[in-house]
């Protein structure tokens, strides 16, 4: 795409010509948009300022849009810029989601290490499924990636059932920073209940019990404000044991407000030394807190992708897409760059998957099926494949359509559609409203603007910048 200069603005240096924001005004708009995005939760009903200007549901909506913008931008790198195809993008998200959840649950990884680790894991598996691109293109490559869409969820569901819970939902702990402020140490004695008060949803209490010198088998019981004894498998709890299987350390993040109780008991005649330490950590258990992880990360990843695309790697991607023979002649290792694109695309999917897991606190395999892969491709096409903002436009458009426009039209459609299709059972029609509108939007775009919203946007922007001269 040729860059179009605003009337009266000329580049005097190559730096200026290469920059993404041509004028100070471009930059200002972008920064304002970013700041506005960051202010949304503050203005929401349950925001800390209790302003109530914006309904809480929009906080979650923007966060979920941002997660899918990340995923679809990954797809954009692969499909839009490198000209490969993937029907398995949702499966790659599943690796990021389940990978990070298992790292957090089983290996005691914090969110901050699980995020890059699961992203790299997803990238590596993406690379693996990119190998067929050495030999096949187009339709056949689509089939090969479709294999990923079937194999990955199957592996997560059956062979890894012990870790993933199979078809059952899997809970995921909230991200925390810390614990960093220790505020009390106490010694516990056998059977004596120890109670403490937890409260703040942002600045949560972390209780950690340390057991030493146990002469017999000891048990630790932690009771939450509802009176339930918490199981050792609870996602907010990490337990370490010695070689004999005795608990040596137990850490629990108390994100619910109320009184907690801890009791340590030794078997008859046994003794132990137990110290309980309470400290504070910053928690991201709320929608608003997660928003501040997800949205800036999405903006950062869009920025990084934009830079990759406009430098050497991106030019190689586009060369492979537009003419792979000529790319080879320019010294570009075509297969190597296809693999890089598969890797990068999967890394983005993995990050999106991980964010999804930690945002929802609960994971289910149904969120990563084939229809989601196809939906993401449709979002990319509608938004504009091969445009830097294509993913953002596509996801936002479809999500607003699904979450605001369709609910609004639903009563009318529920009346109208059965008249249009009198031969179909009315019940079936109502349940099909979502796909009908989605499919309709896709057909309209393919027919009228196959290059997507981003292309329209660039045309409009160019026209605006060239004013007052139309040509």
């Amino acid at each position: 795409m040729a860059n179009i200069h605003p009337a009266g603005v000329f580049d005097t240096t190559y730096e200026q010509d290469m920059s993404v924001d041509r004028t100070a005004r471009d930059k200002l708009w972008k920064n304002l948009a970013f700041v506005a995005l960051l202010l949304v939760p503050l203005a929401s009903v349950s925001g800390p300022l209790e302003l109530g200007w914006i309904s809480d549901q929009y906080v979650g909506l923007i966060a979920r849009i941002s997660i899918f913008v990340i995923a679809v931008q990954g797809l954009n790198i692969l499909v839009g810029y490198t000209g490969q195809i993937s029907l398995g993008h949702a499966a790659f998200m599943a690796i990021g989601a389940y990978g990070s959840a298992i790292m957090a649950r089983e290996l005691g990884f914090s969110f901050w290490t699980a995020l890059p680790a699961s992203a790299l894991l997803t990238g590596a598996i993406g690379l693996l499924f990119g190998l067929p691109s050495l030999r096949v293109k187009g339709f056949y490559l689509a089939m090969a990636t479709l294999a990923a869409q079937f194999i990955i969820p199957w592996v997560l569901r059956y062979p890894l059932e012990d870790l993933t819970g199979g078809p059952r939902p899997l809970s995921v702990p909230a991200p925390i920073i810390g614990p960093f402020v220790a505020y009390a140490d106490d010694e516990l004695t056998d059977g004596e209940p120890f109670a403490f008060q937890a409260g703040d949803p942002y600045f949560v209490d972390v209780i950690s019990l340390e057991l030493t010198d146990a002469t017999a088998y000891t048990v630790v019981e932690l009771v939450n404000p509802a009176g339930d004894v918490l199981p050792y498998g609870d996602v907010s709890m990490t337990v370490s044991r010695d070689s004999a299987g005795n608990i040596t350390r137990l850490t629990y993040i108390a994100s619910k407000a109320g009184e907690y109780q801890a009791v340590v008991r030794a078997e008859a005649g046994g003794s132990f030394k137990a110290v309980v330490r309470r400290s504070k950590a910053l928690s991201f258990a709320t929608d608003i807190a997660m928003y501040y992880i997800i949205v800036p990360l999405a903006v950062l990843l869009m920025f990084l992708a934009r830079n990759i695309i406009r430098t050497r790697t991106g030019r190689a991607f586009v060369s492979v897409r537009d003419n792979d023979l000529a790319a080879e002649l320019l010294g570009i290792n075509v297969f190597g760059y296809k693999l890089r694109a598969f890797f990068l695309s999967a890394v983005y999917a993995g990050i999106a998957g991980c964010l999804l897991a930690f945002e929802r606190n609960s994971l289910s395999l149904y969120a990563f099926e084939l229809d989601i892969s196809i939906e993401m491709l449709a979002m990319l096409i509608i938004g504009g494949a091969g445009f830097p903002l294509g993913a953002m436009f596509g996801v936002t458009f479809i999500r607003i359509l699904q979450e605001a426009f369709i609910p609004f039209l639903r009563p009318w459609l529920a009346d109208f559609l059965p008249q249009l299709f009198p031969f179909v059972d009315a019940v079936n029609i109502t349940s099909a409203i979502n796909p009908i509108v989605f499919g309709g939007a896709l057909i309209i775009f393919l027919a009228l603007e196959p290059r997507g919203i981003a292309h329209r946007w660039e045309v409009l922007k160019a026209a605006w910048k060239l004013r007052p001269y139309a040509y």
Binding site: Y14, L304, R312, T313, G331, N333
Partner: protein, 256 residues
């Protein structure tokens, strides 16, 4: 003069068709070497074999003394072999500038990570190569089209852009497949001047395929003639124009 390229008895066939049959010649460093021959003689197949798109069934390609017969094309490009296509293979949806920048690939280092951050070294590198590309654009007198989308340009200009892209690789061996085909007289003269300038200013070894015999005689130092995949003559332009077999197969046919 040292030997730049040695095509050592290569044979290439497609099914029943023998496109090349034990073709052998040497190109000396720093010369303009022309290959002529009638349509379908195997000239393009020869260039494709040198640059690695085709794999001869027999024989070897020796570049600067090392055997590159089994090397993939992208590695040969990195060694300094660059080419243009008879039927132009540019990125038609991109600007002239972007086409040339893409050809700086082998001279750049920025990887995915440093490119993503676009700080320091990556930014300086981008700038340095942008300057180099602008020099090539100036050299080929294409300043006025540097931001044009290639697909909107005339055929003659596209040929020029493709030459620019081949030059952006900074090759030491440049393979030109009919660079003047389909051009008008004026464009042909410009192209001939550019080829001579590249040869003179950069000392690039050039292998040229061209049908315009007058022009070939004028600008090349050495000529090989092939017909039906067989080399039927080789020598300095003056020798070639006297060679009986060549006249019969090719020059004669041109003259009526």
């Amino acid at each position: 003069m040292p030997v730049k390229l040695h095509v050592d008895k290569i044979s290439l066939s497609f099914g029943g068709i023998k496109a090349l049959n034990e073709v052998e010649f040497q190109v000396n460093a720093g010369e303009i070497f022309a290959v002529i021959g009638p349509n379908g003689a195997g000239k393009t197949s020869l260039i494709n074999s040198i640059n690695g798109f085709y794999h001869p069934q027999a024989g070897a390609i020796i570049f600067e003394g090392s055997d590159i017969t089994h090397m993939p094309p992208y590695k040969r490009a990195a060694l300094g072999i660059s080419r243009t296509f008879q039927n132009i293979a540019l990125y038609t949806n991109a600007t002239v500038l972007d086409n040339l920048m893409a050809a700086r690939h082998i001279h750049m280092k920025t990887g995915m990570l440093s490119g993503a951050l676009f700080w320091g070294a990556a930014q300086r590198e981008e700038l340095a190569h942008r300057r180099r590309v602008e020099e090539i654009i100036d050299f080929l007198e294409m300043e006025h089209i540097r931001k044009s989308i290639v697909g909107t340009l005339s055929y003659g200009l596209r040929k020029l852009v493709e030459l620019g892209r081949a030059l952006a690789l900074e090759p030491t061996l440049l393979l030109l497949d009919e660079p003047m085909a389909g051009m008008n007289i004026e464009e042909k003269e410009d192209m001939a001047r550019f080829i001579l300038d590249i040869h003179e200013l950069q000392g690039t070894t050039i292998m040229l395929i061209e049908h315009d015999i007058g022009l070939v005689m004028d600008i090349s130092h050495h000529i090989a003639v092939i017909d039906f995949g067989v080399k039927i003559g080789e020598g300095a332009p003056a020798e070639i124009s006297r060679d009986e077999a060549v006249i019969a197969a090719y020059l004669g046919e041109e003259e009526h």
